[in-house]
C-alpha cells in the first residue's frame, strides 16, 4: 500500500499510476483587450469585433488515461463607455480553445445596455457620461481533454450605438483585468484498495 508522505509527494509503487498536476491553472490578467472603438455620432449597426485571447495559454495535466475533465471560470473584465445622447447595446461572446480548436462557443452571453437620451430636442452643453461596468462571468466545461493540451479562452464584443440625438456620441474600450481559471479533474479517481 502506498502512503502519502508529510511533504505531500506520493511514494511510487509498482502497480501505481499517478496523474500529475498541476490541476489548477489561472491565466494572467489583461489590460484593455478590446481597444477603443471609433467615436460614433450616428447609428453604427451591429459591429462584431475579432476574437481576442484572455491572457495566457495554459497546459492540461498529464494523466495515465491520457485525458482529464476541465471546468473553466472566466471574468470578462471591466468595460468603459463614454457616451451622451444615444443608446449603447453591448454583448460579449466567449469560446473555449483546446489545442487551438474552438470546442465550445457561446454567443451573446453577456448583455450591457446604456441610455442617455433626453426628452427635450434642444439639450445643449450636455457632457459625456462615463460609465465602467463589469463584463460578467462565463462558465464552461469540456470532458476528455488530452494530456498536455493547450487550453485558452477567447472573447469578442459586439456593439451597436444607436438612437443618436443632436450632438450625441459614443465610444467604448473594454476587457480590463479579464482572466480565466482552469480546473482539471482526473477522469478516474481511485479512492482505496480492498
Amino acid at each position: 500500500m502506498s502512503q502519502q508522505s508529510s511533504s505531500n509527494s506520493i511514494e511510487e509503487t509498482p502497480d501505481q499510476e499517478v496523474c500529475e498536476g498541476a490541476f489548477v491553472q489561472r491565466t494572467g490578467r489583461t489590460g484593455w483587450v478590446f481597444p477603443w472603438t471609433a467615436i460614433a455620432t450616428a447609428n453604427t449597426g451591429t459591429i462584431t469585433d475579432d476574437w481576442v485571447q484572455i491572457s495566457t495559454t495554459e497546459i492540461a495535466p498529464t494523466c495515465p488515461s491520457g485525458f482529464s475533465d476541465l471546468s473553466v471560470n472566466v471574468f470578462a473584465g471591466n468595460h468603459r463607455f463614454d457616451f451622451r445622447l444615444c443608446r449603447i447595446y453591448h454583448w460579449i461572446d466567449f469560446r473555449l480553445m483546446v489545442n487551438g480548436v474552438a470546442v465550445l462557443t457561446e454567443t451573446l452571453d453577456h448583455y450591457e445596455y446604456l441610455d442617455d437620451r433626453h426628452g427635450t430636442s434642444a439639450v445643449t452643453g450636455h457632457p459625456n457620461q462615463l460609465e465602467i461596468r463589469t463584463g460578467g462571468s462565463w462558465f464552461a466545461e469540456r470532458k476528455n481533454v488530452p494530456s498536455g493540451a493547450t487550453v485558452s479562452v477567447e472573447m469578442r464584443r459586439k456593439y451597436n450605438f444607436n438612437a443618436f440625438q443632436t450632438s450625441g456620441s459614443a465610444r467604448s474600450i473594454g476587457g480590463l483585468r479579464s482572466k480565466a481559471l482552469f480546473n482539471f479533474s482526473p477522469r478516474n479517481i481511485v479512492t482505496g484498495r480492498q
Binding site: 451591429t46 462584431t48 465550445l104 462557443t105 457561446e106 451573446l108 452571453d109 470532458k143
Partner: protein, 118 residues
C-alpha cells in the same frame, strides 16, 4: 470531428465539437465538416444580429412600472413635480425640489428613473 450549432433565444447560439464525452445538446443542428458549421454560423449571424437588437429595443420600449410618470413628457414631469401637492412624491424619488436650478436635473432623474436607465 463533428460539430453542432444550437440556436437560442434572442439571437444567442451554442456551438461546439462533438465526441463521445461531449455530446450535442438536445435540439442542436449537427454538421460533419467545419465548413458546413462555418456556413451555418454565418447564416445565423444575420438572424442573430437582428434578433439581439430587437430584444434590446423591446427592453427599452416596454414600460415595466405601472405609473403615470411613464407616459409623461419631460414638460409634464416638470409641471407635476413643481406643484406643492406633489412635493412628497418628488422627495420619495430622492429629488431636491427646493432649489430652482435643480429643475432640469429633477426632470432628467425622473425620466431616467422610470425608464430604468439609472
Amino acid at each position: 470531428m463533428k460539430f453542432y450549432l444550437l440556436e437560442e433565444d434572442f439571437g444567442g447560439a451554442k456551438i461546439g465539437v462533438i465526441d463521445d464525452s461531449n455530446p450535442a445538446p438536445e435540439g442542436a443542428r449537427l454538421f460533419k465538416t467545419e465548413k458546413e458549421l462555418k456556413d451555418a454560423e454565418e447564416a445565423y449571424q444575420k438572424v442573430s444580429d437582428k434578433e439581439s437588437v430587437k430584444f434590446m429595443d423591446e427592453l427599452f420600449e416596454e414600460p415595466t412600472i405601472e405609473d403615470p410618470y411613464v407616459s409623461m413628457t419631460v414638460d409634464e414631469m416638470r409641471k407635476f413635480t413643481t406643484k406643492p401637492e406633489n412635493f412628497a412624491k418628488s422627495q420619495e424619488l430622492g429629488l431636491d425640489t427646493k432649489k430652482s436650478w435643480a429643475e432640469k436635473r429633477i426632470c432628467e432623474a425622473i425620466y431616467k428613473h422610470f425608464n430604468h436607465t439609472n
